[in-house]
């Protein structure tokens, strides 16, 4: 019966995951959007289910939210670029130069830091960047200084935290490229740089984009690292967090949360054609 009707079989297989993701998860997201159209009663602190665009009006008209949104996108983009620049050579070395044994060691070395708690690593960077921490100690003889706490520190810390999420997909993508590709390119007279630029990078691009989805999204939503090393700075995540927790203004927090949703959906749509989504 099932064998004769592949549509039914597919339907049966897909029903449980679709119930979970399509109904529970999308439902929760939809509810979040709906909540952003409600309002909070100042007197009781409870949510009033009356429709209003007030939250979005505040979001778009008060300058500070635009500033924070642009700052957050800028930081997420910068972190992503830094991670690509750092990750690509490493991934290339791992995939195409290192011996199989060294390759395994490198993969473990890249993965291990992921297991140290996020918070502990962020605090470690707080120590590194402090006025009398190791960075200042190394930099001073050269007439430089630690960037101190602030947005540069946030960029450094986030780039550090998310680097493995970039290295792994790029490495996986590069490893899939057959070695013969390099030889063919060389046989056709291309130098190593030309091969990298004209052959390897374009072919690894979907994997880079896949990694960037991680780094960009993780940076867009961060509110903890910025509290630890961000000095006086704040990102979108802090606005969401402050409004849902302390102020108990869930509708406004929900409205602010739609910003990263829109940004990420736009990003996903833009990169869908590269095939990046199959590389996650």
């Amino acid at each position: 019966m099932i064998d004769r009707r592949p549509g039914l079989r597919v339907g049966l297989l897909l029903t449980p995951p679709m119930l979970w993701l399509g109904v529970a998860y999308l439902g929760a997201l939809a509810a979040l959007l709906v909540t952003s159209l409600w309002t909070q009663n100042d007197f009781t602190g409870s949510i009033e289910r009356a429709w209003t665009l007030e939250n979005f009006r505040t979001l778009f008209t008060v300058d500070v939210y635009r500033t924070i949104t642009l700052r957050t996108i800028g930081i997420a983009a910068l972190v992503t670029v830094i991670d690509v620049v750092l990750a690509f050579p490493i991934a290339l070395y791992m995939a195409k130069v290192a011996s199989p044994r060294l390759q395994r060691i490198l993969v473990i070395s890249v993965l291990t830091p992921l297991w140290a708690s996020y918070l502990v690593k962020a605090y470690a960077w707080r120590g590194m960047l402090s006025a009398d921490g190791p960075i200042a100690w190394i930099a001073r003889p050269f007439g430089l200084d630690t960037p101190g706490y602030g947005l540069p520190a946030v960029v450094i810390t986030l780039s550090y935290l998310w680097l493995p999420y970039m290295i792994l997909p790029v490495y996986a993508g590069l490893e899939r490229l057959p070695d013969s590709l390099f030889e063919a390119s060389a046989d056709l007279g291309a130098g190593a740089w030309t091969t990298l630029r004209r052959v390897v990078f374009p072919m690894a691009f979907p994997a880079v984009v896949a990694g960037s989805i991680f780094t960009f999204s993780l940076s867009m939503g961060d509110y903890i690292a910025v509290k630890i090393v961000g000095g006086t700075g704040q990102l979108l995540g802090n606005v969401v967090y402050d409004n849902q927790g302390a102020a108990n203004n869930l509708p406004f927090a929900a409205a602010v949360a739609t910003v990263p949703i829109v940004v990420m959906l736009a990003y996903l749509t833009a990169v869908r054609r590269t095939g990046a989504l199959e590389n996650l």
């Binding site: 909070q40 100042d42 007197f43 009781t44 602190g45 505040t58 008060v62 500070v64 939210y65 500033t67 924070i68 605090y123 707080r126 120590g127 402090s130 006025a131 009398d132 921490g133 101190g148 706490y149 509290k227 630890i228 961000g230 000095g231 006086t232 700075g233 704040q234 606005v239 402050d242 409004n243 927790g245 302390a246 102020a247 108990n248 203004n249 406004f252």
Partner: protein
């Protein structure tokens, strides 16, 4: 708050709206309360609590008690084996203690409404809400052997009593002080102006508390320095007054190195010299001093903001006898000494001062200093009904949050 600053703060934030509103509505035209927290009988005017009967005797223990507490107030050794004052209570009273921690005052109020819990450690922003909601019962202080030893200046306050009737037992309190690096900041500051009008002296080295409630610190400073603004209570700001406080904070921001929200961050910043002056808690100052940082914490001449917590008993308590036994135990000198030293706040029971492992603890925390306590404005949630009793619309915590976002930019 010390244990869990963000949540604790959220506490203030979320909470208290209903009851405070009720109180504020009933408040007769305020006298401003002078330098400190006004006494209950002076200010509560028309506020009447629901008629909830009071126990007149402690009967046989029921065998268990359900405790709702701030993290750090009822430690049973699970965090640190040596930090345990719940187990001795169980042995002593025969009541098994089931402790549940809550994260915010809002959560505490909701959980108390279920009637599942017998006692709760409530902050100033939850207490009146619980009283007005009929969720807590008046406390018969005659049944509590340790009540007589509670510091008098904590009794019969606006946030823990109605009329002459106590609705709880004071637990502990503290102030948000001004800390400075004694090597760098000279002469020693005596006023909050050091972090506001004169902050540029230490540009890039000033620190401030990362929360909308910090606006009250600015408002307190303005209340004392700019009487024209007419601020009577730093938690009751109309739009113009809030704008003035925000302007002050925006000017301050240019000199701020970082905003702090947890104890570790601030101790580190003062030890490394990343911050040299700013608001603090006594426990932070003590830890920093203990690790050799050249810091000092003072109560500036304008007074300060602070907090005060109270143990209350549910009106629907299933284990009222064990509940009373717990309230008596937790305010006993020994337990108070343990909690106060662990949490880092002044114990309400001044007899605890003889039992602290650090003999100067109570002096450091000003536990017996009524004059010191009178200069503290305890954290309260700002609501649209002006808490100082004015017949105007004040800014609520939501507006404070937006304002704080704008201050940080």
């Amino acid at each position: 708050m010390r244990r869990n600053p963000t949540k604790r703060l959220a506490a203030l934030a979320c909470a208290g709206v209903l009851a405070l509103a009720a109180t504020a509505c009933g408040t007769s035209s305020g006298d401003g309360g002078g330098d400190g927290g006004p006494k209950a009988d002076e200010k509560q005017g028309g506020f009447t609590a629901p008629d909830v009967p009071m126990t007149d005797a402690i009967g046989d223990p029921e065998g268990q008690v359900n405790i709702l507490a701030w993290p750090g107030y009822a430690e049973d050794g699970s965090t640190d084996k040596s930090v345990d004052w719940v187990t001795p209570f169980e042995k002593e009273s025969g009541c098994q203690a089931n402790v549940k921690y809550f994260g915010t005052s809002d959560e505490a109020v909701q959980l108390m409404k279920t009637g599942e819990y017998d006692v709760v450690s409530a902050s100033g922003d939850a207490t009146l809400r619980l009283i007005a909601g009929g969720d807590v019962a008046p406390v018969n202080t005659d049944l509590l052997t340790n009540y007589a030893d509670i510091a008098p200046f904590l009794k019969d306050q606006l946030f823990n009593s109605v009329g002459d009737q106590m609705y709880g037992v004071p637990h502990g309190w503290g102030a948000n002080l001004l800390m400075y690096n004694t090597d760098v900041v000279k002469p020693a500051p005596t006023s909050w102006s050091a972090v506001f009008d004169d902050a540029s002296t230490y540009a890039g080295k000033v620190t401030a508390y990362d929360s909308p409630i910090y606006i009250a610190d600015a408002a307190l400073y303005l209340m004392k320095t700019q009487p024209d603004l007419g601020i009577e209570n730093p938690y009751a700001l109309d739009k113009d007054q809030l704008a003035a406080a925000v302007d002050l904070l925006k000017a301050q921001k240019g000199n701020v190195s970082e905003y702090w929200s947890d104890y570790l961050k601030e101790v580190q910043a003062f030890k490394t010299g990343d911050s040299v002056i700013g608001t603090t808690w006594q426990v932070i100052a003590s830890v920093a001093q203990g690790e050799g940082a050249p810091v000092e914490a003072v109560l500036p001449e304008e007074g300060a903001t602070g907090w005060s917590d109270t143990w209350m008993i549910s009106s629907k308590a299933k284990n009222p006898n064990c509940g009373y036994l717990w309230m008596d135990y937790i305010t006993s000198p020994k337990a108070q000494a343990a909690v106060a030293e662990y949490f880092g706040e002044a114990p309400a029971n001044t007899k605890a001062c003889e039992l602290t492992s650090d003999k100067t603890f109570c002096d450091t925390y000003h536990a017996e200093d009524a004059d010191f306590a009178s200069q503290i404005w305890y954290w309260t949630t700002p609501i649209s009904q002006c808490l100082d009793g004015r017949d105007e619309t004040c800014t609520d915590y939501g507006e404070w949050t937006t304002a704080w976002t704008e201050v940080k930019g």
